[in-house]
Amino acid sequence: MTPTPISAAPEAAVAMGGPFLFWVCAIIAVAGAVGMLVSRKAVHSALFVVMTMISIAVLYISLNAPFLGMVQVIVYTGAIMMLFVFVMMIVGVDASDSLVETLKGQRWLALGTAFAFAALLIIAISNGFGSIAPTGSIEAANAQYGGNVQGLAHLIFTRYVVAFEVTSALLIVAALGAMMLTFRERFAPKVSQEEMSIERFKRDKHPGNLPGAGTYARHNAVDTPALLPDGSVAHESVPNALIDRGSERAVNRADVDEVRTISEGFDYVDGDSVQLDEEEGQ
């Protein structure tokens, strides 16, 4: 009898949850893949891929390969898809894809490649159906070293150690290359917070915040210098860039006088009332 996909779904799945689990996960995985293709927003596509990956991870676990299942979730959904989402978020919510094709003949190339890939898949799967001669069950492989994790560890650190190390070296080189490409040279050594703080107190200026523009003034525009309570003009309140371009606004002498009169008036009233109190007290 030609094995149907159900019986082809290995016996291990039957042991863990039966064909039921396989069908649930398979449907979710395929639905996710289709959803990825048809959804219009990139983030939705990414979410559908996550869905597919998780259901595949569940299938791995049900096939007695728990380590692979967990690593699938950690690496692919947890790290790689997260980076995709990260990039999409930087690109922005409203960013729409440009529909102009920049590569010539891209459609035909894509179509041809798709057919070639489909042919490859069909041949591979039909070959698999044709010669079902199990080279050994995963249970036997797992039992050999005392468990799935131990078995994988033995293989990775003995037989495939070179392949494993070369792959990791490749990844590190790729990461370093990306860093080099985006590296920005500095004009001068970076100033640390400590140095900035020391520098601030060394200067012969008030180390605190500068007066805000428009304080005690009749305008709150950023190019209007603040007037201090005694009526004096605080040029520091105007940003240096504006002063450099000569865009600092003129101070109206009437405003200066008014502020000073008000502040002096308050002084006068205060002084007066203090005197009155003292007289009454006496």
């Binding site: 927003k41 980076l83 605080a234």
Partner: protein
Amino acid sequence: MNPVEQSMIENEQTLTLFGHDPVWLSIIKVVGVFALLVILVLFTIWLERRVVSWMQQRIGPNRVGPQGLLQSLMDGFKLAFKEEIFPTAADKMVYILAPILSCVPAYMAWAVIPLGPEVSMFGVSTPLQVTDFPVALLYMFAIASMGIYGIVLAGWASGSTYPLLGGLRSSAQMISYEIAMGLSFVGVFLFAGTMSTSGIVNGQIDLWFGLMLIPSFVIYTIAMVGETNRAPFDLPEAESELVGGFHTEYSTMKFALFFLAEYINMLTVSAIATTLFLGGWRAPWPISLWDGANEGWFPIIWFLAKMFIFVFIFIWLRGTLPRYRYDQFMRFGWKVLIPASIAWILILAVIRTLDVEGTWSHTALIAIGCGVIFMLILFFVRSRVGKKERKKFVDEHPIERDYKPFAGGHPVPPLPGQHHVPVTRKSNVIEGTTEEVNEEVRGG
């Protein structure tokens, strides 16, 4: 058979306790853990508010229920009955999905936390743990990485700037600190010989891993605060910069779910810390002298007590430390925590290998010595080369000292090393330096 394989096989045997529960018992366990978590979260919120109040010399919630214990429950009811608001720019599907994605993994992680030893439940003997399997800690890790999606998607789906920035920050932060966290587990894996939580608890009968692997413990403790977005690492929801971060646009039950998830995550990482480093449910030393301490239902008490030590530390940190600056935080994660963990794992691996082989053979010692000398040479050469290159670079790129405010026809700020030119003002402005002007103003 060497000791490592011996311990591996022993650990696999402890796992045979799991997976035999009847369905009704599994359901009871799952519902029990769910209920426990809900109650613990309500209690933790109350505890946090009271402890922070105590540290800030306030009183805190004390009206609803004895000592204000029911305050969080009432807050939950209030949230449930509030008006639902959907931002206009929100992506509705993802907007609803996000809080669920953040909450469900938070609960799922507790499936593999060992709360106690084997007990008798309705006549069936079963461990006080929903389930366990050889890669239980990797499972927790996978679940934690799923939880990040909730926060990131919440930030994206809100269609608003502050949440987006909060989401971006949190994804970068949690991925970075997850690496340090994972590396801190490696030491425990090496010495326990298993990744199953019950096996790790069994491996700490003689000595807690927290005492044996102090650097791993310290790194984990720091990383767990970063991983849960709690103060002083609460940058994704920094209220002084981002309003509320990723949950700015959320209200009602959806906000409550985020709140719930945050507190469950806090409990989860505390529970993992207890399991991995403080001996799990096993009684601490003076109590462990009593034979019955590690049997029956008592161990739940020890487990919760140890867990709440960590919860208290979380609250204490929040009440004490100011928030980190984002670049400092990332630099600390990538340039301090991760290299430190890797170096520590290297040392541990060497010790463990020599331990397993049973001898400090000459070959091993020579190899280690060569490695150390090689590293020293590399370090020395690198620092010399770096200094030379830097000097060459500085010599070749003299800084242009003249600042042109309109260089290239555009208003530009001064480059590093340049300074502002003297003030030139319009003629109707009062002329002179600040002192001169002030003198004129005062005099006039």
